[in-house]
């Protein structure tokens, strides 16, 4: 009947934590698609800092929260880069899950999960896309 998804969610969360906490340290540090497009027309040095020319990226301003303790996916005060990136990733995954999961939990309708094969019943045709048009009137 009703299948629980908590076990699946727990495993998925673990995968996300490993990706953000460990694998993130092996991510490419080259400018991404947007940044590189905006750098067109400028020359950059080995650290991808603008050294000359004119390009849209020259107009970039500092972030409002550039002083945030987690700014740029690091933890201020943690000198070990690997640890700093990894821990910020772990915090980010847990925070995103808490904010997103909390929001979606509050928004969910008060009816049992799934209901495959059951008429949706009381919620006024919210699932009408599940029935092919023209059947069962």
């Amino acid at each position: 009947m009703r299948k629980r998804s908590w076990g699946f969610v727990a495993v998925g969360l673990l995968v996300a934590l490993v990706l953000a906490g460990v694998v993130s340290n092996y991510a490419s540090s080259h400018p991404d698609g947007l940044d590189s497009s905006l750098l067109k027309g400028c020359t950059v040095n080995a650290d991808d800092e603008i050294t000359g020319g004119s390009c849209p990226a020259r107009q970039a301003k500092d972030h409002e929260l550039a002083d945030s303790p987690l700014a740029d996916y690091g933890i201020r005060g943690v000198d070990n880069g690997f640890l700093s990136t990894g821990l910020s990733g772990v915090v980010g995954v847990l925070l995103t899950f808490a904010v997103g999961g909390g929001l979606f939990w509050l928004l969910r309708g008060r009816r049992p999960a799934g209901g495959d094969g059951q008429p949706a019943g009381t919620d006024g045709g919210a699932r009408d896309d599940r029935q092919p048009a023209g059947t069962a009137g």
Binding site: S5, A16, L19, H30, G33, D72, A113
Partner: protein, 239 residues
């Protein structure tokens, strides 16, 4: 100033245009909340939280593309649309973008409406339109699902990148000397390559979920194949 993700930084688009898109995004997200409520139940809500957390994690994983010196990462619109549907999916990507802007200094807070419009709204919408079309015509096999995921993810990234081009046309802070098509072409080309990565990640992830728990893939539940016979209700059954 190091930036990690494909998000618009402060100063790139002017204030008034950013403000307009903030209003657009707010209105669209309100609509997504209203529609998403119908989809959200005890099973989908934790899954949607997981999808948001997973997209946050994978967005940290910039991968190199073939062009030397350029990277890209998952945007997640197609992944979210496949797993939790278009309305909740757009909300998932938005949650990620909001957390990134407010906590990780990634993507200007003033630019949030622009980033949400491109990646959460345009990306997810383009993906779901394709998903809805492809899943109805392709065979209901693991390959059919993987192809759907790959194509919808790839296209959604290019569409999202062109959303930025439109925004730059409206409010870009550097005069391109009328060469907007140059920016459009550069963005499309780079994001086509990033889209291949997006497609591979999306197809792999969705195929894995479909193998373990097919009931947790929204698109498989909600979209019926066009050619398959309609499910026959049990005679004398519950209704």
């Amino acid at each position: 100033m190091e930036t990690l993700a494909m998000h618009i930084s402060n100063g790139i688009i002017n204030g008034p245009v950013a403000g307009v898109f903030a209003a657009v995004a707010l209105a669209a997200l309100t609509f997504c909340v209203l529609r998403g409520r119908r989809d959200l139940d005890d099973r989908l809500a934790p899954m949607a939280g997981l999808v948001a957390a997973f997209i946050f994690a994978v967005q940290m994983l910039n991968f190199p593309i073939f062009t030397a010196g350029v990277s890209g990462h998952l945007l997640g619109g197609a992944l979210a649309a496949l797993l939790v549907g278009p309305w909740v999916g757009a909300l998932c990507v938005s949650v990620v973008l909001i957390v990134q802007a407010l906590v990780f200094g990634d993507g200007g807070v003033a630019m949030l409406g622009l980033n949400i419009t491109n990646m959460a709204l345009l990306g997810t919408a383009a993906a779901y339109l394709l998903i809805a079309g492809l899943l109805r015509v392709l065979p209901r096999t693991p390959t059919g699902l993987a192809v759907t995921a790959f194509v919808s993810a790839l296209v959604s990234v290019v569409v999202a990148s062109q959303g930025f081009v439109v925004q730059y046309w409206l409010g870009g802070t550097t005069d391109l000397g009328g060469n907007l098509t140059g920016l459009a072409g550069t963005m499309a080309g780079v994001h086509l390559l990033i889209g291949i990565g997006e497609g591979l990640i999306t197809a792999t992830t969705v195929a894995t979920v479909a193998k373990v728990r097919p009931d947790l893939v929204y698109a498989l539940r909600a979209l019926k194949p066009a050619t398959a016979p309609a499910p026959v209700p049990a005679v004398g059954g519950a209704r």
